[in-house]
């Protein structure tokens, strides 16, 4: 049990570190690899919880999560990155130092905000829960401060990974049927965004969201 708790902390730590890495690196290829690492860390969390709680259903969920978030979605991103001319986030609204500092603040915020839930559940896994929330908040930060369309998709994926991690840590996952629907919707949303980035590139040249200025009041 104790060993399991340590393993869990390790996996959750890797999960959070991958998110911080995405924030740190501006290179979109590196960001994509970090997303894959994060997907597998998420699957590892599910496996550890499955072993801990003798919940064999979680192994199947872990396999699905690993496949979707560790392989399929990063592969989709990688293909999108390969198709573009410049693959660096050139003009983010925040420099790296400020971003990392905000990440630290967000981690503290996540710990503070999730206290009621951690206290209510009181399990070993729930104590790792703030890390999931921190990843979700970092995803939101990336969505707000990055301008490349692909970086925004990365931010969205981080947000979603964070939420899934919370689902595992707080309640050992939501019912399987809901989990399936959520994953399917996520896949479709990313596909839609992929198609839209392709169209945007055809219409605007590169997909810097600053070029999206047609619509305003």
């Amino acid at each position: 049990m104790n060993g399991d708790a340590e393993l869990l902390d390790l996996a959750a730590g890797a999960f959070l570190l991958a998110a911080v890495g995405v924030l740190w690196r501006r290179d979109l290829t590196a960001q994509t690899s970090l997303l894959a690492v994060q997907g597998f860390a998420l699957a590892a969390i599910a496996v550890i919880l499955g072993a801990d709680q003798a919940h064999p259903e979680l192994y199947a969920v872990a396999a699905g999560v690993g496949l979707l978030r560790g392989a399929v979605l990063p592969a989709l991103m990688r293909r999108a990155v390969a198709a573009r001319a410049t693959d660096r986030e050139t003009r983010p609204l925040m420099n790296v130092g400020a971003s990392l500092l905000s990440a630290a603040v967000l981690v503290l915020l996540a710990y503070a905000v999730s206290q009621p839930l951690v206290r209510l559940l009181g399990t070993a896994s729930a104590r790792a829960l703030p890390m999931g929330l921190a990843v979700a908040l970092i995803g939101l930060l990336i969505l707000v401060t990055r301008r490349k369309a692909l970086s925004q998709i990365t931010g969205f994926l981080l947000l979603d990974n964070g939420i899934t991690a919370i689902a595992f840590l707080a309640a050992a996952g939501v019912p399987l049927l809901v989990e399936l629907g959520v994953s399917f919707d996520l896949l479709l949303a990313v596909l839609v965004l992929r198609v839209l980035t392709t169209r945007m590139r055809a219409l605007f040249g590169d997909t810097d969201l600053d070029d999206l200025r047609e619509l305003h009041d």
Binding site: A149, A170, R199
Partner: protein
């Protein structure tokens, strides 16, 4: 029989989507969406009758549930979809111009349009019938995914930009709602509910007192913010004017008329649970803030509006803001007024958007200052547009007059005089702005700079559904008897 009635609203549009996918947009299939809409409406009416007689109906272990609120929403979806689908063929024909070749691109675009609208209807029906937070979430997210390409249908820069913002903002909003759902699920499991019961609306409401208040508060705020994004409420409202102004007119009509209300009823369902767990104060403060800020934003942005489709979009935001204030009041009178308002606004706004599509095709612009003297040049179009706007502004005999009056009364009766007074002040500002802009479009001297009269005035088949809908809004204002008992029962379920 019950199984059939509950599955028809999902199966009929999916079948229509399959038809479009297989056969494309042809003369024979052009009205498959209309047929699906008619079936949704019929199922909604039949369910309303059965639910009123025998109480709510569960299917698939409570995943689908028909209660008075769901039946009411299904009737709304059916009616407005009927209106939008019946006018879609004319819209698509005009959008490609009379001299456009019926070529490959048009055929592919039309096929996609037909199939996606059908999927959109299925997703909204699922959202209305969801008996479970998980299914409700999946349905609302599915509406985002299928409508993304409808918003970007025209393929222009502005349309693709609108589709991008729409997908990103709504997906983020709905992700927040998912986080809220997970937190609530954890609290419910901790309170001893089984895995399948912990997301069920009715079970959650029944066991609300056992939920941990601090955790429930967090979950409620996240869910209301998240579903609020899709209902056009601040702070995640920025997609709304862009998407509504770029989407094809019938799709804008569907989004304004039913998509936003379907997201809104999820807020009401969450509110029922939260109020039992936390008392009414928490959701009341949250909804009042969100509703009033939506109203304020809409009123401010309406004043200097230059685009008439965006103007209609902001008017939608204004009405959703008012409805949210109504939900915050939460008494039985207020909830009945909220539902009547949703019905009246849905119909009138659908007519306004569809008419704006005709104006756009005849005038080749969506700018207010480039449309002049419409009343003299196209009296029928101008007349319908004016009547729809009068309805939206809350003039009698239209039903929005009755519902706004009832909301004001309910607000003062509940001791919320100040917020309600603020809301109606903002509505007056919006009214002044809308009247000024619309008058500039409709009135004036036809020789004084207006374009020459467009030849294709609204023909009889395009005109009949619009006028019928307006007459219906007027009739609802005089007497809501066909739906009054349904609305009253639905209000009783939502009120405390």
């Amino acid at each position: 029989m019950n199984t059939l009635l509950l599955l028809t609203p999902l199966a009929a549009p999916l079948l229509a989507a399959a038809l479009y996918a297989a056969f494309g947009w042809r003369r024979a299939t052009a009205h498959a969406d209309t047929a699906a809409a008619a079936l949704i409406l019929a199922a909604g009416i039949a369910l309303a009758v059965r639910v009123m007689r025998h109480g709510s109906i569960d299917l698939l272990g409570g995943w689908l549930r028909a209660d008075p609120l769901a039946a009411f929403m299904l009737m709304g979806i059916g009616t407005i979809a009927l209106l939008a689908a019946a006018t879609s063929p004319a819209y698509l024909a005009a959008a490609h111009g009379p001299d456009a070749e019926p070529g490959q691109i048009t055929a592919a675009a039309n096929r996609r349009y037909g199939a996606l609208v059908a999927c959109f209807l299925a997703a909204m029906s699922a959202g209305a019938l969801a008996g479970n937070l998980g299914l409700a979430w999946i349905a609302i997210e599915a509406t985002t995914i299928v409508t993304a390409f409808l918003v970007g249908h025209t393929g222009t820069r502005a349309a693709v930009e609108a589709a991008w913002k729409y997908t990103v903002i709504c997906s983020v909003g709905i992700a927040l709602a998912l986080l809220g759902i997970i937190v609530l699920y954890a609290a419910a499991r901790h309170a001893g509910l089984s895995e399948s019961a912990a997301l069920d609306f009715r079970t959650l409401a029944a066991h609300a007192h056992a939920l941990d208040p601090a955790v429930t508060r967090m979950a409620t705020a996240l869910m209301i913010l998240g579903f609020g994004a899709k209902a056009g409420l601040a702070p995640l409202h920025a997609w709304l004017p862009d998407a509504h102004s770029q989407a094809p007119a019938p799709v804008s009509a569907l989004m304004s008329g039913v998509l936003l209300p379907v997201a809104f009823i999820q807020i009401l369902r969450v509110k029922t649970i939260a109020d039992d767990a936390l008392g009414a104060g928490f959701t009341r403060a949250l909804l009042l803030t969100m509703g009033l800020s939506a109203l304020a934003l809409a009123a401010l942005l309406l004043i200097a509006q230059r685009d008439y489709k965006r103007m209609l979009a902001y008017s939608t935001m204004e009405h959703m803001g008012l409805v949210t204030v109504g939900a915050a009041i939460g008494s039985r009178l207020a909830m009945a007024a909220v539902f009547l308002h949703i019905a009246g606004h849905g119909l009138a706004k659908a007519v306004a958007f569809i008419t704006s599509g005709h104006i756009q095709h005849a005038e080749h612009t969506t700018r207010i200052d480039q449309v002049k003297a419409l009343a003299a040049r196209q009296p029928v179009v101008a007349g319908i547009f004016a009547a729809a706007l009068l309805a939206l502004l809350g003039f009698p005999p239209f039903s929005l007059f009755a519902s706004e009056l009832a909301l004001a009364r309910a607000g003062f009766a509940a001791g919320l005089g100040w917020p309600v007074a603020a809301a109606f002040t903002l509505i007056l500002i919006a009214l002044a702005a809308l009247v000024t802009h619309t008058a500039a479009m409709l009135l004036g001297n036809p020789e004084g700079g207006g374009r020459p009269a467009a030849s294709d005035a609204l023909n009889l088949t395009a005109r009949t559904p619009l006028i019928t809908a307006l007459v219906a809004v007027g009739a609802l204002g005089i007497s809501a008897w066909p739906i009054s008992s349904l609305i009253a029962t639905a209000a009783q379920g939502g009120a405390r």
